[in-house]
């Protein structure tokens, strides 16, 4: 436990521990007028143009979707407790795993970090008053709501059983509500495009003086890279789904083999979006982890430019590898070879990030607050997820592992162990800023621990099941798989419990939490320079833009119970005057 304090700090008083910083009692710098109480009433939220409020509404939305998707996940795992029918029929099981996948992917993971956290954090971190197009931002939120409504309609109109991938010819022949679901995803796609577009323009045109490209926090680089994918890949999904809807209703014969269409071409169309989309899901997570690792190691991020460039590289390489989802779909060997080769290239920038995070922690003063606990489990889980991806990118092993539980486990390690854990880390990190309330750090850490253990309990057995030949999306299995399936199901319910603990910790803080200081973690990025919660216009005074990772220039201030920047033009001290305690 270490924290940097200026030497002119009152000698008699013990140096504050971060825990003390985390539970201040009514800091004097608490802004009375903030974005939450700036205007009142339901309408002031529903028609707000404030990116912070839109971010909060997104947060509520994506968390509700997460709850719904999570319930379906638990139903899926409950059904798999025994071979054959346990609680539902095979047809219902198909609907459960489809809805779990579709809701989690389209309604939760894709908008979770960019639209919920990104919306709140991005402009403040950048030092801007708002995003470039506030009305478009609100429109994008309502598009999300529209998409969610279509999903709800799908639930009540015969549901959906195609898997979230909508592969033809099954999606053109099943009797479930495919077109309704397609409409929902189409609308959600435009919500995502508008969010990405807004962020790119914001980063390009709204940077305050002094905020140069290479002074941007790495979270912004990650969101920027994500936005590029959102703008360039999502429209292909939109047109694919449109064509599929037209195919299903009229039979245009471009995807449906019944009219001479090519179902493999559909997979090309679908994965041209959906592979880059997995980077929409994970890249913002990378950004969060870069912030957390640096802040809670009390150390400047290692290899700043490499991490920044690797985000862009991942975004671009991500467009070149979609074919690796189709190695066993009847794709030609030529294309399979090309895509396999390209797939390995994308692992390089991801590995660069992991190495840089480890190097950042090396010799740092690691502070195991809740967000850091999530960040550390991210590194562990994502690395497993990433490395097992190499098995699937290799042509020969993929033939054996394709469409098995190995794949299921691999992408859950990346999507849950990666994206979700990073999202939770970010949520716990920015929660004091968003709500102005401190949560109970101890119980936060407990939740991180449960999530980490339960996650591994759920998904590690699935690697074993997969290598032994358990196919994904199956309702039934041979009896010798039952042990691992039951371990996995127990883990899933524990994971649900861990997430419930996290939810209780956060909700409890809203009711009973102490007021949060402006900078409880001692981070150097701009969002911690404004009060918690931020005022309506983000900054009362223009922020001082500096190195976002100069953590040696952030010191604890006992008067405000908060960290603050050392201003080199005042008497607050200089980096040379700071001492490690």
């Amino acid at each position: 436990m270490a924290v940097e304090t200026p030497t002119d700090y009152a000698a008699g008083e013990a140096a504050p521990s971060p825990e003390r910083a985390a539970v201040p009692a009514g800091p004097p710098g608490y802004a009375e007028d903030n974005y939450l109480n700036h205007t009142k009433g339901l309408m002031s939220w529903l028609v707000t143009l404030d990116h912070k409020r839109i971010g909060m509404m997104y947060l509520v939305g994506v968390m509700s979707a997460f709850l719904l998707g999570g319930i379906f996940a638990l139903l899926v795992r409950a059904e798999l407790w025994t071979p054959g029918e346990t609680i539902v029929t095979a047809e219902t099981y198909n609907r459960f795993f489809t809805l779990h996948g579709a809701i989690m992917v389209f309604l939760f993971i894709i908008p979770s970090v960019p639209a919920a956290l990104g919306n709140f954090v991005l402009p403040v971190m950048l030092g801007a008053k708002d995003v470039a197009f506030p009305r478009m931002n609100l429109a994008s939120f309502y598009l999300w709501c529209g998409g969610a409504i279509f999903f709800l309609i799908t639930l009540f109109r015969g549901s959906l059983d195609t898997g979230w991938t909508f592969y033809v010819p099954y999606s053109t022949s099943t009797e479930t509500a495919v077109v309704t679901a397609l409409t929902g995803v189409f609308i959600l796609g435009f919500s995502s495009i508008f969010t990405g577009l807004n962020f790119i323009v914001t980063v390009h045109t709204m940077r305050p003086p002094g905020m140069e490209w290479f002074k941007m926090p790495l979270f912004l680089w990650a969101i920027y890279a994500t936005s590029i994918i959102q703008v360039l890949a999502t429209p292909v999904l939109a047109v694919t789904l449109l064509l599929l809807a037209v195919e299903r209703t009229t039979g245009i014969g471009v995807f449906d083999p019944a009219y001479g269409g090519d179902p493999v071409l559909f997979q090309h169309f679908f994965w041209f979006y959906s592979h880059p989309a997995v980077y929409i899901m994970i890249l913002p997570g990378f950004g969060i982890i870069s912030e957390l690792i640096s802040t809670f190691s009390r150390k400047h991020i290692f290899g700043y430019r490499f991490i920044a460039y690797s985000s862009i590289a991942i975004a671009l390489f991500g467009f070149l590898v979609w074919g690796h989802h189709m190695f066993t779909s009847g794709m030609s060997t030529v294309a399979a070879f090309v895509f396999s080769l390209l797939t390995f290239s994308v692992s390089i920038p991801s590995a660069i990030k992991v190495f840089n995070w480890l190097a950042t922690m090396y010799k740092g003063n690691i502070w195991l607050a809740t967000p850091m606990c999530y960040a550390l489990s991210f590194i562990f889980l994502f690395t497993i997820g990433g490395l097992t991806g190499l098995h699937l990118g290799a042509l020969a092993t993929d033939i054996h592992l394709h469409d098995s539980y190995f794949v299921v486990s691999h992408f859950h390690y990346v999507m849950v162990g990666g994206s979700l854990v990073a999202f939770l880390g970010g949520l716990f990190y920015w929660w004091p800023k968003m709500t102005g309330k401190m949560y109970n750090d101890f119980w936060g850490k407990i939740s991180a621990l449960i999530v980490f253990l339960a996650f591994n309990l759920t998904f590690f057995p699935q690697f074993i099941l997969g290598t032994k030949g358990m196919p994904r999306r199956y309702y039934n299995y041979v009896p010798e798989f039952q042990f691992w399936h039951q371990v996995s199901t127990v883990g899933a319910f524990m994971l649900g419990g861990g997430l419930l603990v996290a939810a209780v910790v956060l909700v409890h803080s809203l009711l009973r939490g102490k007021k949060a200081p402006a900078n409880p973690w001692g981070a150097a990025t701009l969002e911690w320079q404004c009060s918690s919660p931020p005022p309506h216009n983000n900054f009362d005074h223009p922020p001082t833009v500096g190195d976002p990772y100069a953590l040696n220039r952030v010191v604890y201030d006992p008067d405000t119970r908060s960290y603050r920047q050392i201003d080199e033009f005042s008497n607050g001290g200089t980096p040379q005057q700071t001492a490690k305690v």
Partner: protein, 382 residues
């Protein structure tokens, strides 16, 4: 004349009655804070989170270009379909494009190019603060858009009467697995009947043309009625000094007349192509009559003997999807242009604030760009 020309030269605004009229209007109404009255010198004119007009314009422009990039990728799916199926079945493409009328396509190309010109001219007018010029340019663009759709409606109607539709509409599924056992639009009997009744293709085409004439006649009457009603409405609004409504209704009149002229003009063009081969003059003045005749003669000579290849429905699926989605973009553009025309007439745009005109212009040019590729791909290459 660089992009960063710092300020309007002195005396420029004095030469421009529209602009001075506008600023008087703004002052007289005392709506200094009103979002639509943009005094270039007011520090509060631009949106609060921007520092300057310039920043707001640049942000909007960048946003629009990103939106266009998104549109390019959106259309890319269709171009990909085209490329894949063309490379797989070149014989279908060679056979099928004879059913598309080059003169109609070429005329539509010219119409869209002209609408791009008027749009670009409109942006120029907006930048110079010429209110009436801007309104006129937008009106011309809108009229061209309607003209384009009129021609398109002729083409679709004619094909429908010839039973040239997408795959699922006319073909039996070649294998199981689909939800439909029979074609959606059951024209099998009619097609078989037509084929059995020893009519040559040219005769069937003339019959279809007659039927098209009837259908389009009804559409034209509808357009004329709509135009009349809207015209009366616009007149009323003019009397009531409801200028916004008046311009909106006038835009509707333009659209209805444009549709009518486009549909009837295409009909004339088609009759001319089918009827009198000697008279090679078309009302649109396009300079490729000689070729038109050749293509048509070729069609007549061949259609009786050549057996249509399998998968012709797929070509028309792609044709309908591509042109249909393009037409949807035209329609969306018309809605936005109407909104723009109302604002332009009202005098919302000044040399400092003309972003919306520029951005809608960019969108309109992109729709034109897509057509620039669609025309040769579908109509010409065979």
């Amino acid at each position: 004349m660089s992009a960063a020309a710092p300020a309007p030269p002195t005396g420029e605004s004095g030469l421009d009655p529209d602009r001075s009229h506008h600023s008087e209007h703004g002052d007289a109404d005392g709506h200094g804070e009103h979002a639509h009255v943009h005094d270039p010198h007011s520090p509060h004119g631009h949106a609060h989170h921007f520092e300057s007009w310039r920043q707001q314009f640049d942000a909007g422009k960048l946003g629009m270009w990103l939106f266009l990039a998104q549109e390019v990728l959106f259309f890319s799916g269709l171009f990909c379909l085209y490329a894949v199926y063309r490379s797989l079945h070149p014989e279908v493409w060679e056979y099928a494009d004879r059913f598309l009328s080059v003169p109609h396509g070429a005329f539509n190309t010219a119409v869209l190019l002209f609408s791009s010109l008027t749009m670009a001219w409109g942006v120029r007018c907006a930048m110079l603060g010429q209110r009436i010029g801007l309104t006129g340019c937008i009106a011309a663009t809108l009229f061209c858009a309607a003209l384009f759709l009129g021609v398109k409606s002729f083409e679709y109607t004619e094909k429908a009467h010839l039973h040239i539709l997408w795959a699922g509409a006319t073909e039996e599924p070649v294998m199981g697995g689909t939800r439909y056992d029979t074609p959606l639009v059951d024209v099998t009997d009619q097609v078989a009947e037509a084929e059995a009744s020893s009519l040559t293709f040219a005769e069937r085409e003339s019959a279809a043309l007659e039927a098209t004439d009837v259908t389009l006649g009804k559409i034209s009457v509808g357009c004329a009625i709509v135009a009349l009603v809207l015209m009366v409405g616009a007149g009323l609004c003019w009397k009531l000094k409801a200028n916004g409504w008046m311009v909106g209704l006038a835009a509707g009149v333009l659209c209805a007349i444009g549709m009518l002229v486009g549909a009837e003009g295409s009909m004339l063009l088609a009759h001319e192509m089918h009827g009198d081969h000697a008279g090679g003059e078309h009302h649109d003045g396009e300079a490729h009559d000689g070729h038109v005749e050749t293509a048509h003669e070729m069609l007549e000579a061949e259609s009786d003997v050549e057996i249509p290849p399998d998968g012709i429905g797929q070509f028309f699926s792609i044709y309908y999807v591509m042109t249909g989605l393009h037409a949807v973009h035209i329609l969306a553009g018309m809605v936005v242009l109407t909104w723009l025309m109302i604002r332009a007439y009202r005098g919302d745009f000044t040399p400092d604030y003309f972003g919306p005109v520029d951005f809608v212009g960019l969108y309109w040019h992109l729709v034109d760009l897509v057509w620039i590729y669609l025309f040769p791909l579908l109509y010409l290459i065979g």
